[in-house]
Point group: C2
Chain length 470, copies 2
Amino acid sequence: VTPQQLREQLAAIVGPDHVLTAPDELVAYSYDATPLFQAVPDAVVQPGSTAEVAAILRLCHQHRIPVVPRGSGTNLSASTTPIAGGVVLNFARMNRILEIDEENLTCTVEPGVITGEVHRAVEAKGLFYPPDPGSMHISTIGGNIAQGAGGLRGLKYGVTRDYVMGLELVLADGTVIETGGKNVKDVAGYDLTRLMVGSGGTLAVVTKALLKLVPKPAARRVALALFDELDDAARAVSRIIAHKIIPATLEFLDQATLRAVEDFARIGLPTDAGAVLIMEQDGHPAVCAEDVEAMARLCREEGATRVEVAASEAEAQKLLEARRVALSALARRSPTLVLEDATVPRSRLAEMVRFIQEVATRYDLEICTFGHAGDGNLHPTCMADERNKEQMERVHAAFGEIFAEAIRLGGTITGEHGVGVAKAPYLEARIGPEALALMRRIKAAFDPHGILNPGKIFGTEAQAERGSAG
Amino acid sequence: VTPQQLREQLAAIVGPDHVLTAPDELVAYSYDATPLFQAVPDAVVQPGSTAEVAAILRLCHQHRIPVVPRGSGTNLSASTTPIAGGVVLNFARMNRILEIDEENLTCTVEPGVITGEVHRAVEAKGLFYPPDPGSMHISTIGGNIAQGAGGLRGLKYGVTRDYVMGLELVLADGTVIETGGKNVKDVAGYDLTRLMVGSGGTLAVVTKALLKLVPKPAARRVALALFDELDDAARAVSRIIAHKIIPATLEFLDQATLRAVEDFARIGLPTDAGAVLIMEQDGHPAVCAEDVEAMARLCREEGATRVEVAASEAEAQKLLEARRVALSALARRSPTLVLEDATVPRSRLAEMVRFIQEVATRYDLEICTFGHAGDGNLHPTCMADERNKEQMERVHAAFGEIFAEAIRLGGTITGEHGVGVAKAPYLEARIGPEALALMRRIKAAFDPHGILNPGKIFGTEAQAERGSAG
């Protein structure tokens, strides 16, 4: 099938208005939020229904054409870069909230719905969808499911994986299946639902998702603590958990991030502090008050130089501001931001942050680290310029060491961003060759011709060659 | 390989004391807690280490010998009946708690550890492992993982699936892999950990499990409500959820169960009540008190004829007694108890219970229904006598209708017992032929020669013949 024939057949399925083929349109889908990865697709298709997705997949399966499902493209692992060309499936038209079931505490959505819209819609009914990835005001639920998105509330509430109860899937050959359902308990066969979460669009295409909801917390309280020493902050985190408190969020900023934030937002934080913890508890007002007071006390006991407990929601917003602007504060400092999510068991937090700081010095790089202290999910973020090839080599070498150290500490190469293409070279070191081989066999069981998001998770041939050469 | 050679080679791996081959010993492993299924294995092996399990699997893989992993055999789906003969892997020797990590809130165990022992060990440290299947004082964690065990606390806390963070697995060919880890967030590759939960020993053998813990709730409160009408109780359940209360447990007994319980335990409950709800909240004392008071009020508003709120832990124990003795009360009424776990979305609870009662009348059977009202997980339990073939035919026909109705209501054929052999004939109706075919391909990706627990989930040839004949 020629590219022209392909486009005509796609147009016959979705209508000519929903097949994008102009060069500038294709370029717009040649990259996602991940720096350094770009490839132009042959066509971008905007299906309007499950039946259209199924027809597109039948066509692509028949002709062995790569298919790359894509939401808003906010992922940071090049998971939606069409590195093998083919068809990008854009879900902008399948973006409805189909049902909020207040009796069964579920929400049924199309994959293209924006995560933040789900939050607003369910919160208006006194319900709560906890997963809150950093990109939630732009990202889609379909993308969150593909990447296994996390967020700030992971420790207390879990992540996307814990809130997907069922899926409608289109398999590689166009077959439509449903998994799971509204049953809190269901063990009828293998758990295909969770297998899909975090599979990066390599196993099947999600066309509908049934999400679990919980009651919206009645209240929340926030506190912020400044420490001279990183180790004091890490010890405070351990003390909080040892005190049997599971905070809604427990965020961490290192000194470099703190300085960037203060330089950007002028919040009035002392830039000589070694580390910042931002703590939030939600739920019953008595629980919020007691837990936040206890966390503040534990921080003081571990040497916090300053602890602020917000007395009002407005003050809470102000304290949370430091964390919220971190990425923007860092983004304006350099043309290229390499944002990673090396993750370790919570008890190894201080060791990991110290290692990152040491690596940054050794490679003469500026790496700021912030992230989710409660769940050990760190975001070491390197200021760089992709036009500087020599610097980018150092960035890659530094992150190679950071991933290796995370693995050595019992951690992982990605806590919430996904493997995609960007982290494919590190996957084998994390899970071992036998588990990787097993995952390849699972991939083949779903997608025998390898048309679904080729190169993702398992890497490209170019990566394999680089790997064997190095 | 002859049976004698097999036994010798097994003895060479685990030592002769740990290979059982005497007829009476083999008979003891020919059945599990499921009535009507029995088959004698060729040998029972008690491995003492992962390396021994791996060696056993290499041997069985080479000679295409079925391997049936088994904990305490408390499952109700014939998941550990060695229907194809072969080797039963008994985990009685691999029963240690290896670590309780208070900093990372995890517990590492061998598969043969008793669930209740994990509860006691972690609660002694102020921690909590929520899954509480009915058999928890006998069942093993390995069995809970294989079956995807649930329990009373499923609605609020989730089920086994939600508390397994990592596994050590031996694959069919003896390869050992590790999945997951102590990271709260980890999206490095496909989620093999959760794929294993509920896979019934058909994909790999679990030799170690890393469990997630939470802080032990500080307090609990319990209440009991009696209703004349089933519909009133069901409406009370809906009102509780609509009131944004997620109780720790919310248990239901129908009139038939209530009568059996009262007859057995003489608790002093009026046997003319149409339904009983037992409600429990745990957590902060203020939350417990407010939620239980609110639930009691909602029950009264929906027509409860009597509501008792326990003032003390001793009173709480007394109220919980009615639910706890249900199974024993029913068991003494008949030689054979067919206990099922048809499950529906919570909003369809009353419809489902009424259908079960109607089916029981129509087939002239005594079916008592109790279960987890909060999560729609019902246990219709039929008093029968397996020696009465004609009656057993009616039992099968009745449950066939019950499963079909559960599916029609958006429910499932098994909420927490697993498919095993017993429910294999109903699986296709629940998930569809395409999803079933996909599961077969996943099975083949793990176990190309089909040695791991053959016949489970996908059914036996005899079942397939009966299916096509009917």
